[in-house]
């Protein structure tokens, strides 16, 4: 998960609070290279989060509707919004959490920009 990095002690404490033993926690923590992160585009970042959420699907495909194709369900939207909020330091408006705003990478990009992501 991009918002839990190996050096992030606060995040580790949060996971421990939610019942994850430290030795098990690392199974889920992705290695993080801050040099790479600085150059990543919003589109790449969205695809990365989506792919980690649903690794069985290819989110780089164009001209498909993620919702209609069943690639994202309402629980995915909750976790996706939480991760996008955390990553970009914003709070996506609850009124914007509608399926049509998550049907493609372009739609998610527009949603992020509308809600103040840079």
């Amino acid at each position: 998960m991009l918002w839990v990095i190996r050096t992030n002690e606060t995040a580790k404490v949060r996971y421990q609070h939610y019942g994850f033993a430290e030795e098990n926690m690392y199974d889920y923590v992705m290695e993080y290279n801050s040099d790479q992160e600085t150059n990543i585009t919003m589109e790449e970042q969205i695809i990365r989060i989506l792919t980690e959420l649903r690794p069985e699907f290819d989110f780089t495909q164009k001209d498909i509707d993620f919702i209609e194709e069943g690639m994202l369900d309402s629980f995915d939207l909750v976790t996706l919004v939480s991760e996008l909020d955390n990553y970009y330091g914003i709070s996506i408006d609850g009124l914007d959490i509608l399926p049509e705003n998550f049907c493609s990478v372009d739609a998610i990009t527009k949603l992020l920009i509308k809600n103040g992501a840079k």
Binding site: M1, R14, G94
Partner: protein
């Protein structure tokens, strides 16, 4: 619809929780979530632990246990009770009213109004409004408001929309007359066109329970439930809450003349942590002023979550001081309601287990 009540106060709150706590990890296998997804949902939604009634325990059992505790501890006298309001979606019987059953169990006086109110997530606010309306009558000095729901038996174990969140609980709130003006600002709104967004399709007169209604069916999201089970259209509920609750609270600020920053605590219904954080962000309220820790500790017990939130987060503090609280409930009906009032120097504000 707006209300203004004066010379009324909340005198005490007792929350009664089941002893049995169920961990999210112990149920995860029912939901087909991957471990990563489970952990993320646990963080975002607040899935952790919820309290479930033992088989055979009903909402009224929790109320009776709590009332007996108050009588035994001399925190309430049976003869003081002028009205008994039972707000629940899980009555003992279709008839008689559960409030009358409780009245009979304790042998309360005949000059006592018993009333069952079928309400869910806005049940606390609805109950306080009804109690205050009754207290406008000189014959009524003290109302015992019982919010109680034991709905876990109605939730399919394979319904990941509802099962990880559901909790059983009851709360007893004393609403009484007082000499101080103590204005209570309240409002309530309804939209019956969304009545079936949260419902239990079978078991009433419209569709009695039968072997056919007990058949488990899979929905488009992969949940399995029967018509005897509670069904919640989560997306619809989320959109309704995000659309209607912020304007309701903005209106409450105007109605009461209270600035949002002068509210000490926002004690809202507890559907899940994600929804509450979105509401707080929309209203420009710090997350720490709007506790969102009831689902992760006890589960969502409909109209009981607001008093539980008050008992759990404020406890003894509210017995020794006064605070300004904004409370809100929203859900089944569809109903949304809010209260702005000062609350403090309670006779009791605690949680007990049954």
């Amino acid at each position: 619809m707006d209300f203004l009540f004066k010379h009324k106060r909340i005198g005490g709150i007792l929350t009664i929780l089941p002893q049995k706590a169920v961990k999210f990890e112990d149920e995860m296998a029912n939901y087909n979530f991957s471990p990563v997804k489970s952990m993320k949902l646990k963080m975002a939604m607040g899935y952790n632990e919820h309290r479930i009634a033992a088989p055979g325990q009903t909402s009224s059992d929790f109320c009776r246990f709590g009332l007996q505790y108050l009588f035994d501890e001399a925190l309430l006298k049976p003869e003081e009770i002028d009205a008994l309001l039972f707000v629940s979606q899980s009555p003992d019987y279709f008839m008689p009213p559960t409030s009358n059953m409780i009245h009979g169990y304790f042998g309360l006086k005949h000059d006592c109004l018993c009333m069952d109110i079928n309400q869910g997530c806005a049940g606390f606010e609805m109950g306080v409004i009804q109690a205050c309306l009754l207290l406008d009558q000189p014959a009524v000095s003290k109302v015992v408001l019982l919010n109680a729901d034991v709905l876990s038996p109605k939730v399919s174990p394979r319904d990941r929309n509802s099962k990880p969140l559901i909790g059983d609980a009851a709360a007893i709130t004393i609403v009484e007359q007082c000499e101080e003006e103590n204005p209570i600002y309240a409002n309530i709104k309804m939209d019956g066109t969304g009545a079936l967004v949260l419902n239990i399709p079978a078991g009433g007169f419209r569709l009695p329970s039968s072997p056919e209604t007990a058949v488990m069916e899979e929905d488009v999201a992969g949940n399995f439930r029967s018509k005897d089970n509670l069904v919640m259209q989560g997306d619809e509920v989320f959109n309704f809450v995000q659309r209607e609750v912020p304007p309701m609270i903005e209106h409450l600020y105007e109605q009461s003349g209270v600035d949002r920053h002068d509210v000490d605590w926002y004690m809202f219904h507890q559907p899940n942590k994600f929804m509450l954080h979105k509401l707080a962000d929309k209203l420009g309220i710090p997350h720490e002023k709007m506790p969102a820790n009831i689902v992760e500790n006890f589960g969502n017990a409909s109209g009981v979550t607001v008093p539980t939130c008050i008992s759990f987060n404020l406890g003894e503090q509210l017995c020794n001081s006064e605070m300004r609280l904004c409370m809100a409930g929203f859900g089944v009906g569809l109903t949304w309601s809010s209260l702005m009032m000062k609350m403090g120097y309670l006779k009791f504000n605690q949680i007990i287990e049954f």
